[in-house]
Subunit: 493 residues, 2 copies
Amino acid sequence: MILMDNEELVGFARRVGLFWPSAEIYGGASGLYDYGHLGAALKRRFEELWISYFIEGRRNHFMIEGSTMLPEKPLVASGHASRFNDVIISCTKCKSFFRADVLLADLGVAINEGADAAQIGEAVRAKGIRCPKCKGELGEPRAFNMMVDVALGPEKKESGYLRPETAQSVYLNFYREFTLLRKRLPLGLAIIGRAYRNEISPRQGLYRMRELTQAELQIFFDPEEWNRAEAAPHEGGLSVVPYSTGKQARFTPAELVAMGYPAFYVNHMAMIDRFYRKVLHVPEERLRFLEKGGSDKAFYNRVHMDIEVDVGSWNGFREVGGLHYRGDYDLTSHSKGSGQDLSVSIDGRRFMPHVLELSFGVDRNIWMLTDLFHRKDGERELFSLPTHLSHYAAAVFPLQKDEALEKRSAELCDALGRDFRIYYDTSGSIGKRYARMDEIGTPYCITVDFETVDSKSDNYGKVTVRKRDDKSQVRATTEGLRETLRLTRVAEV
Amino acid sequence: MILMDNEELVGFARRVGLFWPSAEIYGGASGLYDYGHLGAALKRRFEELWISYFIEGRRNHFMIEGSTMLPEKPLVASGHASRFNDVIISCTKCKSFFRADVLLADLGVAINEGADAAQIGEAVRAKGIRCPKCKGELGEPRAFNMMVDVALGPEKKESGYLRPETAQSVYLNFYREFTLLRKRLPLGLAIIGRAYRNEISPRQGLYRMRELTQAELQIFFDPEEWNRAEAAPHEGGLSVVPYSTGKQARFTPAELVAMGYPAFYVNHMAMIDRFYRKVLHVPEERLRFLEKGGSDKAFYNRVHMDIEVDVGSWNGFREVGGLHYRGDYDLTSHSKGSGQDLSVSIDGRRFMPHVLELSFGVDRNIWMLTDLFHRKDGERELFSLPTHLSHYAAAVFPLQKDEALEKRSAELCDALGRDFRIYYDTSGSIGKRYARMDEIGTPYCITVDFETVDSKSDNYGKVTVRKRDDKSQVRATTEGLRETLRLTRVAEV
């Protein structure tokens, strides 16, 4: 695989229609990105596959939607108003602001993710760190709340926030949905939607954005029942960095359970692992779970693992999602905050459901896919997406400008178009048309040539099918073609 | 059809899982709504059908995505920062705020949609209007900008807004997409996404919200070319209220063209009409186009029609979308604002593309569908959605708790589940299970009974299929069933 740096990847993304900074003609906007036609299609395809894998195949799991603006109270109750902070530090001389953990990481100073302003202040003084821009003296670090606040109403007195995570919209709706859905657990409620963070140092393409899309599934369950679960077998084991050892190794689910991780948690790790490997085709060795502990772990999480993928432009493993056993923190907080008892009663037993959260950054996953499947093959540049992830199933080309070829091509498009997304292109040389499809990831190019329409030819009725990845070409009938396309649109799970 | 008032509709929506106010357990949030599992599914289905009808079937039309936060500059250039205003008026005594046009409309005082603060002040004085809450004296009306502002960065000095319409994200990306997509016009770029408005009087369920979902298609075209278009025939004509007469009547496209409406505009009216009648099954007599003119019309629009639907809870026709011929206003404004020339050169001719906007309020459309297809049939309450709009294609029930019946039902679910969304339900009486499916709009209930699994019965292998709307029941084989489901999932257009 050819390593790409950030700049190369951003260039490719821009050139083929994936993504670029918002309001680009005005010079762009820090931490905000737009998706072009190809990126929007890939994002939608990712979301469809996510819904189909994590929600539609599973009993009592549903998608919901929530407003992204929320009043102040629930975000006070959730702890975000007081705790959703980054530590920032500014230069006393040039007045530049820095996110303290990023500043320290850039200088190679190790610091816990959850370090507070005082701890960071100590580290800055101990290492004698000065402003990286002007070498001036740095001021005292301070906590900075990352939520974006909004003020509504005619006098702008109705305070609220843009939600910092979709999860909160789910917790707020848990009780109504639980009641509507006939009071059964486990109940899975998921949202794919926007979340907002006033990042101090937005950068690195889609990795740290001020407006992001999350796909989050909250599973509400009865801890007594789920604690009786057993580890399911899993092909090949799971790659994990346990907090206790800090060393990456491969474990079977049974081994992880023996190490003390709850079986229901391990089974969801296996489910996520399968999604990345089988649905997204992430190579096994590029995927791992990194356990967080100590002050790196959110205080409400009982078990917290980041889902990490290693791609060239990241120079190592980076977080694309997480699996969080949040206990009863969320429902308990909102019970207190709202004064509504969110506990449930099942078979005469009253308890607060626990939550297992599967959280994914959609934009990071799109970046990851872009990096992972961009290829250079000499002069040729190709987006070697798994066929079921590509927007078009195939492209149809008449070999050249000719009435009979164009008529037959249009018929083929109509016939295949009922079941598949087909791109039709008549302009430019065949080579140019191939190159365009390679670049946007279309797995098959179908060419209608003179033999196709010549009733005396052995290849009458047959088209040429050219594969994106190896450029191999075969003759195929429409029916054979349909079967090929049908099979390749399905992710094998 | 049984008329429902707002309250009844909201009750139904809540009871079946469609929608309800956000942060309900905290007392709700004004103008913000969440979609429950059924509503989210219906919304997604609407969006899929919209994309398939307006975008995927059409050449050079694409979906894109844009950030909902935008920097200040583009919204100054677009005119929103100075002109996206409502007139508000407050009571000098009780300090209540009112949206002036809503206040006047409630009192039956006719006023133009675009009336400014001075004109409204005159009307208030002329009619001697006082505060509807406390009868106190009303103050001077004033313009109030409806955009929601956000401040980003460590010192919150980076000013921006939540976009008031998705259209702006498209205009900002036009030039890059035009270039990427090989400089061809017409080019259609669409977004389905959130938009934000600080509504003073949010109310009426999903009709006037502070956070809404829009589905907007901007078609960029060469006016010289499109002005040569001819009116396409259209079955049954179009129901229109021309601004010139103010009277609703039915016109053929050719008649509308003869009246002076551009043919390309009329052809898009026909396309929209067909979407409402054929895809959404809105009865012909409940749909019309209302032309806006004078100060009711946005100043940049050359032709402006609201798409209106008449449903019970609205007591008459109300806007669900619009068709706007915006000329070159948008690209010219952003050329000036950004300093980037957004004009194009095609065949040696340089010009600023014109824009035709098809704009739809997704939430209003969901409300409309809910009202239109909610039915009461004696005790029975049903959501009589067109079959291709319902979330589940069918439900499968074993007649009663029995191993053979459950086994056969599960097999049937698996077999149908590969192609259709199937609901499986084993609990409660068949009557109760029917009632649940009626309420959420599932068109077919399939029951596996003892004859189905009895190899000596004439009905061996056959299930009972019960239709939601007329409760009729027939026996069918799995293959017959599959064919029925397959046909009904497709909207006939």
